[in-house]
Amino acid sequence: MDLTLKVWRQDGPGKPGEFKEYEAKGISSEASFLEMLDTVNERLVEAGDVPIEFDHDCREGICGMCGVMINGHPHGDQKGTATCQLHMRKFNDGDRIVIEPWRATGLPVVRDLIVDRSPLDRIIEAGGYISVNTGGAPDANLIPIPKPAAEASMDAAACIGCAACIAACPNSAGQLFTSAKLAHLNLLPQGQPERYKRTAAMVEKMEEFFGSCTNHGECEEACPKSISIDNIALMNRDYMMAKLKDRRKFGQR
């Protein structure tokens, strides 16, 4: 198939950028979206030009490294699919495809389609863990966890940290990412001792970088792992409780 690409090119952080058009001719419909970009890049190098930079790695939809806006949709418009899992058979011969980096103030462009997602690491560092040192953990079967609780925790833990939720949000809010990590940990018995401290710390760190949630729901639509916005409700409840609860009484049942 023959395609026309309109791609955002930008030399570096803070530098001016612009759209450039590229012809992508003779692309197989069996190719993945990133393999299509590989082909375009190989041709650019052969012509002596600088290839289009984009983040990618596992190409199995799990590492969270890839992700671009495709025709205005994060990871394209196939639901529950990361950019690397998108295949050209979902496009038509002659299509014109607009490819942009994630657009959010909190995620500045590094080069071309690559953005800086380090704020997500900062949010995890603020409290996205259970504070246990290596060694001395009790037997794994000491704490039975009801299967539905373990499953709900796993549903949230499936987040790949790609930041599509932020790119999709008209407010560039980081709620879905942050709440997915909070739900993963706060739904488990192991996560209870730090539940409210964690929630307050992560929410406040998130707000340093990203906008506010106004319940558009675009994030869930864009999420390649279909993480539910129910997690945001859980987070909001826990955040409120974090401000009300007397943590000195947590030892009581």
Partner: protein, 639 residues
């Protein structure tokens, strides 16, 4: 002649690790902050080691070429992690896990290391559960297990088809906590391009900031390489695009021995190649073989769709040839069996390059819901790539390069022969012999990082109390920085006619043909002519555009491929000198009448370590003899 001292402690195997920990010197808690440790890589091994060191009080710097530690390729591991908990009451024990792993590795691993791995495996499950890793559970709330290849017990813990992701997130979160506490400093988008040694010891590393192109030096008391495997030497593999050999190869060039480079694993269940522009291969977890049945049509000319082929015209060849292990035969055995089917022209799919993995029977028995709960994300991944629904038609699978058992030679302390330089996880050679069993990579990465290296490193560090690391102004660092800078400038200046990928693809084709599933003397000799010629052409005719002082992934890729050429040559030499078949190394000259691997325990019961002698010089072959006191050497049988 150099000899190798594996430093295996004396005593009965079940006491070695305990007595070794007692005999090792300790660093007093208050003194730990006086030591600096550099860790390269943030996968399971690197992240778990960095977090553990940080918790202990060491000053740690950790480097990753990704934007975040969580991207490391451990994240893509699907199936599970082994431990000998015996939660399923099927007779498992530490000794059985040890025995299965030695046997699975076709008796080419070091017994003491493997025993220790089996010994600490249970602690890993406890640790990860305490961290909040959401392992699969039974309705009673206790942990669930499933089976994996090469074992007749159910000992694999899992989190759906995303076990690697959940374990890595656990380690990453522990690491994040140490970063927040200031015990660990993270350098992201920073690629290590040289190991620096001084007076024979590891002194530090030279790294390149991938965003600014800045080259800088970092010194420390010890350097830990946790940089994974080198399957991407084959171009097409299940590894992530960025996985490479550069860190361990640069260490090799600075004197660290490279061990068993030819021991590579070809995984039986990957989605077959579909086209020549393909960039990578996708694994379908071995766990699928719990419920999936592998078959090909009996008649090579059968062109009917899979579901139209009646039961009695199908050959469930693994169940036929290996009745006791059936579809759960180990990876090397299952891969070769698939290769034989395809060689007999019984392959399926448009290119006749696959075999069927069929879930119809399991769906009939258990229902679609159960299969979806167990493997839902894998089925979805398959559907995305192939546009076929595996709930309705059988999956098509084919063997593909997946894991490398070889790596830097390390002793019992996980230290290379260069003092102060350690290799952990897939980057070392130590635990899997000639073939790794499923769900053992995650086990080894976390064992090394959480429970082995944190103890063994003190024994080395203790002698350098109050000795400052070599200054980064020292000429050994300046020379290395200059060398790295020149390497980058050289790659940019060639301005030839071919792209990096075109060279990499050609190298991969040579390797898969001559050093892949089956190897022959003639083929390896041919590869040893082709590879140096291609390498020479690369250095004359590669084209890398862009600049050195900005984000330039073509440049990074070119530097990695340059190192793959040198590694590829060593792999072929190692394969040529190992005159036997064992595990993933199958020399066509050495096979039983039934086409199984034929070991030579008289002449080949050793690990091969290769000593660097300078660019353009052949490496020296050093043998570490392998002694088996606890596992009797036998022809491996899964029948």
């Amino acid at each position: 002649m150099t000899t190798l001292d594996a430093k295996v402690p004396a005593g009965p195997i079940q006491d070695k690790w305990t007595s070794h920990r007692f005999d090792s010197k300790l660093v007093n808690p208050a003194n730990k902050r006086k030591y600096e440790i550099i860790i390269i890589g943030t996968g399971l091994a690197g992240a778990s080691a960095a977090a553990s060191f940080g918790e202990m009080g060491y000053k740690v710097r950790v480097f990753t070429y990704h934007d975040s530690p969580r991207r490391a390729h451990s994240i893509a591991a699907q199936g599970g992690i082994n431990a000998a908990k015996n939660y399923t009451n099927d007779g498992d024990s530490i000794f059985r896990l040890f025995y299965d792993t030695v046997k699975g590795g076709d008796y080419r691993s070091r017994e003491a290391n493997v025993y220790r791995l089996a010994e600490v495996a249970n602690e890993i499950i406890d640790q990860c559960t305490a961290q909040g890793v959401p392992f699969a559970r039974e309705y009673g709330g206790l942990l669930d297990n499933r089976s994996f290849g090469g074992a007749q017990v159910s000992r694999t813990f899992y989190a759906r088809g995303q076990t690697g992701q959940q374990l890595l997130l656990g380690a990453y979160q522990a690491l994040a906590r140490q970063i927040a506490l200031g015990n660990v400093t993270l350098y992201n988008r920073s690629e290590m391009l040289e190991v620096v040694t001084h007076e024979g010891r590891a002194a530090g590393v030279v790294v390149r900031d991938m965003v600014s192109g800045e080259i800088s030096s970092h010194s420390a008391h010890a350097v830990v390489l946790a940089t994974g495997g080198y399957s991407n030497v084959f171009f097409l593999s299940t590894n992530a695009m960025a996985c490479n050999t550069t860190a361990i190869w640069r260490a090799h060039r600075k004197g660290a021995h490279f061990a068993n480079p030819c021991f590579t694993q070809i995984h039986p269940t990957c989605i077959p190649v579909h086209d020549e522009f393909q960039s990578k291969l996708t694994l379908m977890s071995e766990s699928l073989r719990n419920d999936g049945r592998i078959w090909v049509p009996i008649n090579p000319d059968d062109t009917r769709p899979a579901n139209d082929i009646p039961e009695d015209e199908r050959d469930y060849y693994l169940e036929r040839i290996y009745p006791s292990f059936g579809n759960l035969a180990p990876r090397d055995v299952a891969s070769r069996a698939a290769m034989r089917m395809i060689d007999e022209n019984r392959g399926i799919g448009p290119l006749k390059n696959g075999v069927y993995l069929d879930f119809a029977e399991a769906i009939g028995r258990l229902g679609k819901d159960v299969i979806e709960a167990r493997y839902g994300n894998l089925f979805e991944m398959y559907e995305r790539i192939t546009d076929e629904d595996p709930y309705v038609v059988p999956m098509r699978i084919y063997p593909a390069p997946h894991y490398t058992m070889g790596g830097l030679w390390v002793d019992y302390n996980l230290m290379t022969n260069v003092p102060g330089l350690y290799a952990i996880g897939e980057a070392n050679f130590s635990d899997h012999g000639a073939n790794r069993l499923g769900a053992s990579a995650l086990m080894q990465g976390l064992a090394d990082g959480y429970f082995v290296l944190p103890y063994t490193i003190a024994d080395y560090l203790v002698d350098y109390l109050n000795v400052a690391p070599v200054s980064t102004d020292h000429e050994v660092f300046k020379d290395s920085e200059r060398e790295v800078d020149e390497r980058m400038k050289k790659l940019l200046s060639i301005n030839g006619m071919r792209t990096v990928d075109s060279f990499h693809r050609e190298l991969g084709n040579i390797m898969i043909e001559h050093c892949g599933l089956a190897r022959s003397k003639a083929g390896l000799e041919k590869a040893l002519v082709q590879i140096p010629a291609l390498r020479e052409e690369f250095w004359k005719n590669v084209r890398v555009t862009g600049t050195e002082d900005s984000y330039n992934s073509e440049l990074a890729k070119a530097a990695r491929v340059a190192d793959f050429f040198e590694l590829a040559e060593l792999m072929c030499r190692d394969a040529l000198e190992r005159e036997e078949s064992c595990g993933g190394h199958f020399r066509v000259e050495h096979q039983t009448d039934e086409g199984e691997a034929q070991r030579d325990d008289v002449n080949q019961a050793h690990s091969s370590a290769w000593e660097w002698n300078g660019y353009g010089q052949a490496q020296t072959h050093i043998k570490e003899p392998l002694e088996f006191e606890y596992v009797a050497l036998a022809q491996r049988s899964y029948k």
